[in-house]
């Protein structure tokens, strides 16, 4: 019997699911191998039993946490899909401020007070803290990146079909830059987070002339002290350095390493 796979989204831009739909060249092959039973971007069926649940997005509210626990309970394997689900992504930076402060900053003080007092609105805003999935449930595998990498998704699926999980080496993006034959970003006088960021993206940003901003998260043994010193030596201000680290890795900076 074909494995039943399902996709769910929590707080995210759904860009990872769109990245998946972008796999049109292999999608028909994929459907030969699996049954997709839930996929909000493409269909609306629900299934009581799931072999592999792919969950996109971070968890902000208790109602989302409950939904996540429910999915975990009916899934054999649970995969965190993309940076939001794996490490809280950019929205984890809001953890530095109070929910009320964030509301006020975005919607102004009037709406801030209204949604916090109006019983019709407040459950939607009963925001606690941005959390990656692994803080709430057991996660079997993480597909990092903003968005997730199509090849990694396929690799995971192939391994699951063979009765195994992939091993993801904790290598820096530098490894893939060398494999791609790229010129180092520092060589052209700029700075980069490749040395402290999980590889797996084939150094796509650097290969296209940009730098690595760390969307795949910090490596388990990332030498942040040395990296910070290097960024300073390259003339970056403390504020800029903090912004660079917190863009994608705010949660990891605050909570210690993954």
């Amino acid at each position: 019997m074909k494995p039943r796979i399902a996709f769910f989204d929590m707080a995210s831009c759904e860009g990872c699911q769109l990245a998946l739909l972008d796999c049109e060249d292999i999608f028909l092959d994929l459907l030969e191998l699996v049954d997709i039973v839930e996929f909000r971007e493409a269909l609306s069926e629900t299934s009581p039993r799931i072999d592999i649940a792919f969950i996109e997005g971070s968890i902000h509210r208790e109602m989302d946490a409950d939904r996540l626990r429910g999915i975990r309970a009916r899934s054999r394997l649970l995969v965190a899909l993309g940076a939001c689900a794996c490490n809280g992504n950019v929205q984890a930076r809001s953890n530095l401020y109070s929910p009320a402060g964030n509301l006020g900053a975005v919607y102004g003080p009037g709406d801030r007070d209204r949604v916090q007092t109006d019983p019709e609105w407040w459950p939607l805003w009963a925001h606690t803290r941005v959390r990656p999935l692994r803080e709430l449930v057991r996660v079997d595998y993480e597909l990092r990146g903003c968005p997730m990498v199509k090849e990694e998704f396929l690799h995971l699926l192939k391994r699951l079909l063979l009765g195994s999980l992939p091993h993801t080496a904790a290598h820096a993006v530098c490894v893939e830059c060398k494999q791609q034959g790229n010129e180092c970003v520092f060589e052209r006088g700029e700075t980069c987070m490749g040395q402290i960021t999980w590889a797996g993206c084939h150094a796509i940003c650097i290969s296209h002339g940009y730098r690595c901003d760390g969307c795949r998260g910090l490596l388990p043994d990332a030498n942040l002290a040395a990296h910070r010193a290097l960024m300073r030596a390259r003339g970056l201000s403390e504020e800029t350095i903090e912004d660079r680290y917190r863009l994608f890795c705010s949660h990891e900076i605050d909570r210690g390493r993954p």
């Binding site: 192939k158 820096a172 490894v175 180092c184 040395q195 402290i196 388990p220 040395a226």
Partner: protein, 359 residues
Amino acid sequence: MDAFLASKRQFLDWLRHTAADTETFFPQPLGEASFQFARVRPDSPLRLEDWDSGTPREAFRASANPVPPGKLLSPPGETLFRFRRDPDGRLEFFPVLDDAPRIIAGIRPCDLHAIHLLDGIQSAGVPDPHYLSRRGHTTLIAHDCLQPCDEHCFCDAVGALRQRQGADLFLTPMEDGLLVEVLSEKGAALVEGAGFSPCGDREARLAWAEGQRARPFGRPLPASPEAIAGILAGSGASPVWREHSERCFSCGTCNLVCPTCYCFDVSDDIDLAAPAEGRRCRTWDGCMLPDFAQVAGGHDFRPGTAARQHHRVARKFQYLPRQMATGSHCVGCGRCGHQCTVDIDIYDIVKDLVERAGP
């Protein structure tokens, strides 16, 4: 064997012509300040003008070339074999050996020396036919250095500058062009019909070139490679390892840009359209990467960057030279120091060790 004379222009035109029939690689600009051994195309920007002039901005510099030419003999992700499983569970394996002819031209002596050392390693013990097949079908055209590439170079200090063995053609810059020496049958066959002028005064020209060679050549080391091997053997407890690795990211760059690093990992893949078929690939790996010495279950037999740094340096100067009965396996190209974003330089480490070991 024969020797010819060619103008630099004449040589590069011939190389372009040859590249139309045979996959040919030559150093070309990469990004803003780097070089890559890239395929030669009809419109490729090939230069030889400043290679021996000591004006390093235009000349091909080994340390500014993150992927050394020898890596063309072990490309990242090379397929070792394909397999197929039939519905009854029977397996079949199909080895993949690359026998496409290739030419790599513009190899500096340090990189030539590195390929020569790799030839020894891949032929020793149980030979590696994947490397040897590709190597056997590759023609090497090396180019002598009369000036060090840049401030990172220390090839002479580790005995790599005078390397000629392994090259099929050897180029030496002359006032009036290039001396093209034929060093092998393969080189003779390649250069036949090139239209280069026969050279009657090879020895005099080589002597002239030797007279032009910079002295000292690149950075000197305070001890011979043999003496360094001895010092390394007793250096396990030295604080040098910690001092030179505190700022290390374990990013593996020093391994991956090293022309004599050849460690690898393997990974399998299946075809999505035919899941019973697939391939096993070999990927580059390096001893500075954090999981390199981990065993199944997670125990790490070489934990920490200091221990890994020690292993990397000892392998170049102590372990491999003794095992293979060769000189240093560090060829002094300067890549690891140049490409490291926090300037961890094998030259500095070795110099530091020697100086602290005392006279």
